[in-house]
């Protein structure tokens, strides 16, 4: 096995892909497009942060509720702030609390009621979606705080705020995974829960905390996404759900748990966004775009998404 970390491979791949695109589509390669792609990838990357933690935690860990929670985060921000920048803090607080609470319920259901993560979080997605519908009846009053829009879309040195925020999150995630006890125990739990428990790790606590963080990060992703879309709608987060999982895996995090990094996920989000943009710029029909995207994804996965036989 080569020693090159998957994150680096994915990153190199996306850069190569970008310049390769120049051969096919010369006006695809320019600074504006590069920044645009990173910015688009930022939202996928932010939303995939919690997913990365959950997948590292193992035990078939996966969070299918992130799409619905992203939507909820955006809607809550929209409604609570009512477009006022002063109330953005309040919105942030509520959004984080609600996201964490949803994640907490996921975690409790998975750990104590033993519902498989896939169906627990899928069910939770339905509950969140259903609650949004029942409460708002599709009628969502509110507004986008200018401060939020500026934060996300405003440019500093020509680079949109979203990219800075993403980079900040990247550092934070690195810190959490590599420099905190929780991060270390998370990997242990992901590899072998029994070993972890017998070594004094609070396995249930770590898993519940992980899903809680996932909910919290997804809700935060929704808040930030609102700054980009500047509009709420009922399917806002849904389109990010499966790509968030794909980004994690393409970034070299193993679905079996216990191995991976957020830098990998960031690179994965870049590769996916890049591929999508590239295909779009090639102007082949919708059907062929889908076929090529599927094929490229399979190839990407086979580069380093391969799983070793259980020993």
């Amino acid at each position: 096995m080569s020693r090159v970390p998957p994150a680096a491979v994915a990153l190199l791949l996306s850069v190569a892909l970008f310049f390769l695109a120049g051969l096919v589509q010369p006006n695809f390669v320019n600074a504006a497009q590069a920044i645009n792609i990173v910015r688009l990838a930022a939202f996928l990357g932010i939303i995939a942060a919690g997913q990365t933690l959950v997948i590292i935690s193992g035990g078939e860990g996966i969070d299918l509720s992130v799409g619905a929670v992203v939507t909820l985060g955006a809607i809550l921000t929209f409604m609570i702030s009512g477009g006022s920048s002063e109330r953005l803090w309040l919105a942030l607080l509520v959004v984080l609390a609600v996201g964490a609470a949803i994640g907490l319920v996921n975690g409790l259901g998975i750990v104590f009621v033993r519902i498989p993560p896939l169906v627990m979080t899928l069910g939770m997605a339905g509950v969140v979606q259903g609650t949004i519908l029942a409460v708002t009846r599709g009628n969502i009053p509110g507004g986008v705080p200018r401060a939020l829009a500026n934060l996300v879309t405003g440019r500093f040195l020509g680079v949109p705020g979203a990219i800075y925020l993403w980079a900040l999150l990247g550092l934070l995630m690195w810190f959490v995974l590599q420099r905190t006890r929780y991060g270390r125990e998370l990997f242990a739990v992901g590899v072998n829960r029994r070993t972890a428990a017998l070594s004094g790790v609070n396995v249930s606590g770590v898993v519940v905390l992980t899903y809680t963080l996932s909910g919290l990060l997804a809700a935060l992703g929704g808040l930030l996404l609102l700054g980009f879309t500047q509009r709420v709608f009922l399917t806002l987060g849904e389109t990010y759900l499966f790509p968030s999982i794909a980004a994690v895996v393409v970034g070299g995090t193993v679905l079996a748990g216990g191995r991976g990094s957020y830098f990998g996920t960031m690179a994965g989000a870049l590769v996916l966004t890049m591929t999508e943009s590239l295909l779009r710029s090639m102007r082949i029909g919708e059907a062929y775009q889908m076929i090529v995207f599927g094929a490229i994804l399979v190839v990407l996965l086979s580069v380093y998404g391969r799983q070793r036989e259980r020993e």
Binding site: V113, I115, V119, G126, T131, A287, M290, I291, L297, L301
Partner: protein
């Protein structure tokens, strides 16, 4: 507690069966005409395609995999069927189309199988990726919804020979097929591979090939499911089956099959589909307010999934 004897392990559908009985009883309470042949027929008609699909999904999951491309496969076979068959087609064309459908289903499954079993890609994301492949092909084959089947076929699907709905025969056949399959080495090896792949390999089981076959079988079941669905709708659409993927997985889990593999069965999956369908009936007939229907649906399914775990939790407390 895990069952300590093989008998209990082979009958994991007993808990879901209780769930089904409760669901049916509730449905009957809210909808007194539930057992009328016409009503029953209608319900079974709705269930059958998903039952077939969930049966295939169960096999894949037992072998330790999962398939997120099943909906796309159904769509693909559906558009294939309606392009090969028209309202005027006779038996030869129909047979040809059935053959082609099975072939394409198996081929699509083989693509998944190759990726997962031989290239050892992770099933969830791989089948998510191939679902784009299949959807794309489906869209290329049939850019606009359309097509039709011979009337005789769609009428047959809705008929009730000897007073029993045609679809009931279908379900019986499906269960019979399972009883036969359960006796084969192939299915025995699905359990072994899903339970402990290294052990299975050391015992001389061809693990990769077994996994590969599980996906091919899934493809065949998806083709069968698409046939049932096409009989039910009488038309083609390149996205017709897409929304069936997640329900097929939920049904398998509701039916007591462990997502990690190595345990479970088709009977449970079939029961799971019935429960899911009946929950929707309950929403209608118990007059859940319009705006709460989605919430109600999700909560009830979640409770059904949580049921066994909660019972265990309470029992564990007491012990």
């Amino acid at each position: 507690m895990r069952p300590s004897s093989a008998w209990l392990r082979n009958h994991t559908y007993l808990v879901p069966l209780v769930l089904l009985v409760v669901a049916v009883a509730l449905n009957y309470y809210f909808q007194p005409n539930f057992f009328q042949p016409r009503v029953l027929n209608g319900n079974l008609r709705v269930m059958l395609p998903l039952m077939v699909l969930a049966a295939g999904q169960a096999l894949v999951i037992i072998a330790g995999g999962i398939d997120l491309s099943v909906g796309a496969m159904v769509s693909l076979v559906n558009v294939l069927l309606v392009t090969l068959v028209t309202r005027e087609s006779g038996p030869p064309e129909v047979l040809l189309a059935v053959g082609a459908a099975l072939l394409v289903g198996a081929a699509a499954g083989a693509v998944n199988g190759l990726c997962v079993a031989y290239l050892r890609l992770q099933p969830i994301v791989t089948t998510y990726a191939t679902s784009f492949l299949f959807s794309g092909v489906a869209l290329a084959v049939l850019p606009r919804p359309g097509g039709a089947l011979p009337r005789a076929l769609t009428t047959f699907y809705r008929s009730a020979p000897l007073g029993v709905p045609a679809t009931a025969y279908g379900i019986a056949l499906l269960l019979l097929l399972w009883v036969v399959l359960r006796r084969t080495r192939f299915v025995q090896y699905l359990y072994a591979v899903g339970g402990n792949a290294a052990a299975a390999r050391a015992s001389g089981v061809r693990v990769a090939f077994t996994r590969f076959l599980s996906y091919v079988t899934m493809g065949l079941f998806a083709a069968l499911s698409a046939m049932m669905l096409t009989l039910s709708t009488g038309s083609g659409n390149s996205r017709l089956g897409d929304a069936m993927t997640l329900p097929s997985i939920v049904a398998v889990v509701l039916g007591g099959t462990r997502l990690a593999g190595g345990q479970g069965g088709v009977v449970g999956a079939v029961i799971g589909v019935a429960v899911l369908t009946i929950i929707r009936n309950l929403i209608t007939f118990s007059n859940v307010p319009t705006w709460y229907q989605t919430l109600f649906d999700a909560v009830v399914i979640l409770l059904a999934l949580a049921g066994p775990g909660i019972v265990q939790l309470i029992r564990g407390r007491r012990a």
